[in-house]
Point group: C2
Chain length 214, copies 2
C-alpha cells in the first residue's frame, strides 16, 4: 500500500499517511504531493476537503467504500473507518471532539460524543472570564479540588475518564487522535494507535482491489 | 427579613428575592425597585453589578460578610452563600456553569466546575456544524446511542450525572439554579431549592444584625 497516500480530513487538521509515516497538515497550508501518487481520502469537513481537491488532481474519496454494520444514523466517516479496523473493543478518538464507539464482532453497536479537552477549555472561558484559569493535566482526581484551575481540570478530566471507564469495563480500548496518548495512560486495557483510521482505509482499498481481481 | 430585597447577580441573570417571592431579571432590563427598600446583593459579574448600582442608590454588597471555613482559593461568592445555608451535603448550582461543592459540619471541603447544559450545546455546535443536533433530555442513558442527537445528549447528561453520583454517594444533594430541578429528578437523596443562595445571604444579614445589637 506504499503506492498511495492516505488522508483523513478532520475539523482541525488534515492527517496524512504514506509508506508507514504519518503527519498532519494545516488546512490553510497543504504541501503539494507528488502528482503521480494517488491520494485516497475521507473527510468530515467539506471546506478543508475542497482545499485538498483544489490543489491536487488525483484524489479519490473512499467514503462510498467504507461501510460497517450498524444501526447508528449519521456515523461520521472517520468513526466508520476506525471501527472497520478492529474486531472487538472500544474506539476513542480524542481530538476536537471525543468520539466513543463500541465494536463487537466487527459490528458497531453504538457510540457517543464528548467535547475535546481544548474545546472544554474554550467553553469555560466563554462562560465567565473568572473561569479562564487554564488546565492542570496533573490535577489530583481523588480529592476535592481547592482552587479554580483544579476545579475546572477535575471537572473536565474526571467526567471524561468516568465515561470511558464505564463504557469500556473490561473491554480493550483503542485510543487515537491528538489527546489519545494522554488518556491511554489512565487505563490498563488500552493501547494508543494513531494509524487506526488509516488501517480501516487500507482494508477498504484491499476490498476494492480484491473485487476488481475477481 | 421582608424589609429588604435580596439580589444574586450571576453570569446570565439577576435573581431577586423579596418577602418569600423569587424572580429573575435580564441585566439589560432591570425594573426599578421602590427606593425606600434596601437591596442587599452579591455578584460574580462586575458589569451586571454596575447596571444594578447605576439604577439603584441603596445597594449593599454582602460579600464582605459572607464567609465560610474553606481552604479553596477563589471560591465564588454565590457558592459561598449557598454553602453557608447548609450544615452537611453536596450543593449543585446548575446554571451557565454547574458548580459542585461539598459541605461537612458547616465547612466547605472542596468543589469543582462543569459546563452548564446550554454551554455544552453551544460547544458542540462550535466544534462542527454536524454536531448542532439539539438536545434530547429524555435520551436512554442505559444503552449505546444510535444517532448524533442522542450521542451528544448521552455525552452531556451521563457525564454530569456520573460526576454528581460519584461525589454525593449517600450524602444529601441540594440542587439550585435553572437546570437544578431537571437534575434533581435523577437522585433519591436530592431536593431542589432555588432559595439556597438567598438563605445564606439572610444568615449573613442576621449575623450582622446580631453583632450590631451586642
Amino acid at each position: 500500500m506504499s503506492h498511495v497516500i492516505l488522508c483523513d480530513i478532520g475539523n482541525s487538521f488534515l492527517h496524512f499517511y504514506y509508506s508507514g509515516r504519518i503527519w498532519r497538515e494545516n488546512p490553510h497550508d497543504i504541501t503539494l504531493k507528488k502528482p503521480h501518487i494517488p491520494i485516497y481520502y475521507i473527510s468530515v469537513n467539506p471546506s478543508f476537503e475542497k482545499k485538498l481537491l483544489d490543489s491536487h488532481k488525483k484524489c479519490i474519496n473512499l467514503a462510498p467504500y467504507i461501510d460497517i454494520p450498524t444501526s447508528y444514523k449519521g456515523l461520521g466517516i472517520d468513526r466508520k473507518a476506525a471501527c472497520k479496523a478492529i474486531e472487538q473493543g472500544v474506539i476513542i478518538d480524542a481530538g476536537s471532539a471525543i468520539t466513543v464507539d463500541i465494536v463487537e464482532n466487527y459490528k458497531h453497536i453504538g457510540g457517543y460524543i464528548l467535547p475535546g479537552i481544548s474545546a472544554y477549555q474554550e467553553l469555560y472561558k466563554s462562560i465567565s472570564p473568572s473561569l479562564s484559569a487554564g488546565l492542570n493535566l496533573g490535577v489530583n482526581l481523588y480529592s476535592p479540588p481547592q482552587n479554580t484551575k483544579d476545579a475546572i481540570s477535575f471537572g473536565i478530566l474526571k467526567s471524561i475518564l468516568f465515561m470511558i471507564k464505564h463504557t469500556s469495563q473490561t473491554k480493550k480500548i483503542y485510543f487515537t487522535g491528538g489527546d489519545g496518548k494522554f488518556f491511554a495512560k489512565f487505563f490498563e486495557n488500552a493501547i494508543f494507535d494513531n494509524t487506526l483510521i488509516f488501517k480501516g482505509m487500507q482494508l477498504a482499498i484491499r476490498e476494492i482491489e480484491q473485487k476488481l481481481q475477481n
